[in-house]
Symmetry: C2
């Protein structure tokens, strides 16, 4: 991370960093699969029509066109930022997933549990925590027509477990519920619930006094209504005691009751199964307007200013096909944002920069094929082994292995009788012992590079 990207906003990792990233992605994949989520990948491009269905993000989109098309009849079209058939790179994995579900509905079984780990692209101004190309890891559960609320609990449990298995230290999943907030505002007599949410979303940035002023001046709230909305947003509990705190505010509404019950369901179960991982935080608004119930965001403890590293929510109609709708709930991890922070704060590192566990030194150039035999014995038992490409001085060969953190160097010498004797050296301790390529095995922790939490 001391290196500067040669193209601003497009990060590339060195081999040792990539090992940490692979560990993170493997861990996520394993957790998702243990919970029965299926992997899918969607194409990198969508039509502008698909991407801009929700309206708001056109400035961030990368359009794609065949270079050849520029110079012929495609020229006009290549410039038309309104053409809905024009292709562009996806900026998240939710919109492509919605299209995939609609297109393949006849081939899927619902509720459909899928995970998707892919790169996405946004033409934003690069800054700390933001990249133009980055990897997301999403899970969603989508139903056909209906989806029980229980899935809202399920996906949060899966993500708490997945994030808990990563070398990222402590985190907090902050959970709220749109129904709770909207019901409360309506119970208060504030009908422009989206407007209230939009202002509450500014709390961290502009403070309570300014939000109160805006609620009164922009939305016509009374001072008391504004105070009540702010009191709601101030509630934050690790267990379900938020329910009593909300009730104490004296507002009643049917939707509020529904929201309280749902949020208590999610937070209660998380509190029981993953204590300390989640809080009910009634200030969480989440910008995107298609969420209809539970909303989640996640901060790394001690790195709150990084923003959310895992967000999502419930949407009652992510996708629809004729009069068939597909409600869903999901969460998305910003893997690249996490990696950037992990590297810049030195939170984790790989025990070596290559997969190789054993480096087979060459005594003579002619021994290469015999050395490959040794390597083959080791690989057949799952031990990554690499043969030197030329018979340089042993000191140089050991240095080559040491530089990459390869723990073992293997030496073979052929006696006058043609019999080979083998020795293996642990270059960390210097210890060198006789070894048989068909049976010698390193300790399990030396087999593959380990990712060490600092």
């Amino acid at each position: 991370m001391s290196r500067k990207a040669s193209l601003s906003g497009f990060h590339e990792w060195l081999p040792a960093e990539r090992i940490v990233e692979q560990h993170v992605l493997d861990t996520l994949r394993n957790t998702f699969e243990l919970h029965g989520f299926s992997s899918i990948e969607t194409r990198a491009v969508e039509t502008l029509g698909q991407l801009l269905r929700k309206g708001e993000i056109d400035k961030e989109v990368y359009a794609v066109s065949r270079l050849q098309a520029d110079t012929d009849q495609g020229a006009a079209r290549a410039q038309d930022s309104q053409d809905p058939n024009r292709l562009a790179l996806h900026f998240d994995l939710t919109v492509p997933f919605a299209r995939y579900v609609v297109e393949n509905a006849g081939h899927l079984s619902f509720p459909f549990r899928r995970y998707q780990i892919q790169k996405v692209w946004r033409g934003e101004r690069p800054q700390e925590g933001r990249a133009r190309e980055f990897t997301q890891a999403d899970i969603d559960v989508v139903g056909d027509g209906t989806l029980p609320f229980r899935s809202d609990v399920d996906v949060a449990l899966v993500m708490a477990e997945a994030l808990g298995a990563l070398p990222i230290g402590d985190f907090t999943i902050r959970i709220n519920n749109r129904k709770l907030a909207e019901g409360f505002y309506r119970g208060l007599g504030l009908e422009d619930t989206a407007g209230v949410l939009r202002n509450i979303d500014k709390l961290e940035k502009i403070g309570a006094d300014e939000v109160s002023r805006l609620l009164q001046s922009e939305l016509g709230a009374t001072e008391d209504q504004a105070a009540q909305a702010l009191a709601l947003a101030a509630i934050r509990t690790e267990d379900t005691s938020f329910v009593e705190q909300v009730r104490a505010l004296g507002v009643t509404h049917e939707l509020l009751e529904e929201g309280l019950e749902e949020l208590a369901g999610v937070v209660g179960e998380l509190h029981r199964r993953a204590p300390g991982r989640a809080v009910a935080d009634l200030s969480i608004a989440r910008g995107l307007d298609y969420y209809t119930g539970t909303v989640y965001e996640t901060v790394l403890v001690g790195h709150e200013q990084l923003g959310s590293i895992c967000s999502g929510g419930r949407y009652d109609a992510l996708a629809s096909k004729g009069n068939r709708t597909f409600p869903g709930v999901g969460l998305s991890i910003g893997v690249t944002r996490l990696m950037m922070r992990m590297f810049s704060q030195d939170m984790a590192r790989a025990s070596r920069s290559v997969p190789t566990a054993v480096y087979i030194a060459l005594t003579h150039d002619d021994d290469w094929s015999a050395a490959q035999d040794t390597a083959q014995f080791l690989r057949a038992r799952g031990i990554p082994a690499e043969v030197a490409v030329s018979a340089e001085k042993f000191g140089k060969q050991i240095k080559y292995a040491d530089k990459r953190g390869i723990p073992y160097v293997w030496f073979t010498s052929v006696g006058e009788d043609g019999a080979a004797t083998h020795q293996v050296k642990d270059i960390r301790s210097g210890e060198q012992v006789d070894a048989d390529p068909a049976t010698w095995t390193p300790p399990a922790e030396d087999l593959r590079p380990q990712v060490l939490e600092n």
Copy 2:
């Protein structure tokens, strides 16, 4: 594969197909890592200047531009297909790798062994075997200044092993050597060796007579020279006996000798270690002009018309930085091309469409949390488990599991004394037995979806 892509040339797999693809990618990764190759990924975009360094492929490139830029000062530039700073999607992994090596040379140890598995994009006309978005899996070894010839043998061995581990049936790696061919042509008195190669490359398409005619009319070869060039291209042996066959043609040249020795080195070692996997095929030319020694291509036996599924070669200067050059040798598997053929010919399939091994049925909606306890016991021991989202009739829950190929359904009933009894049903055999969530384990082959070769 009976489904049509919603965007021509951009294929997306169903969950069960994706399991087969994941198996292929995992197998490749494992083989590459056992041989000490490091993973890297490069950004999806390169500058046009980088991409078009070799000249020939501009028509196939997808240019990328921020949608916003279209409507302001970027408009002119977004249209300029000559602007070397303009961004475009990479069309292979070799050009980006070369840039990566030059940029990060100070952070890498040479010879640098890397593998890279990523999507690439080409704006070609889609047809059988060709897609506009496809996954490539590359290995390369790159040296700093020099790279021993031995690496040419090494990468071919790794690929023979990697392809041999895939459910794709028989394949043949066809190997030739540029030095051999060029030395032979020079020894014959034909100096335009690139011209001869270009015509020999057309052999399969237009036949020997027509190639002979072109060699004479275009390159001024005599009938005898043309016959000799064609005689060379007709040589094909599984072992090193091609050397004698070439010598029997009576042509001598220093470069020819070097080429013969190198090709014998590769083919001899492959014949010894992976018998039947490789042939010396002296008709192989490979279009790209930067190869300088060994060239490889690979066909699936019985699917030769699909074209090469794994190609590459030796390049003496893939990349350079000032007067420092980085010679390399590598091979690239066309994973998507392989997947398309595997699916269209029904060569392999997943044993089920989801990772889930055990589906936990619900007797009452209130049991959900208790069912999660059971699931957690199973997952902790690496058994993928999924809990039903609602307590529907058992028949319906079993049908849901069966439809996805989940082998086991788990039932829990709580007695009047509050004690739970557990049973697990193998829905293939119908057998149902008592089971303890803390100890019950399915056979290893039921743990994760298996990929079965048809």
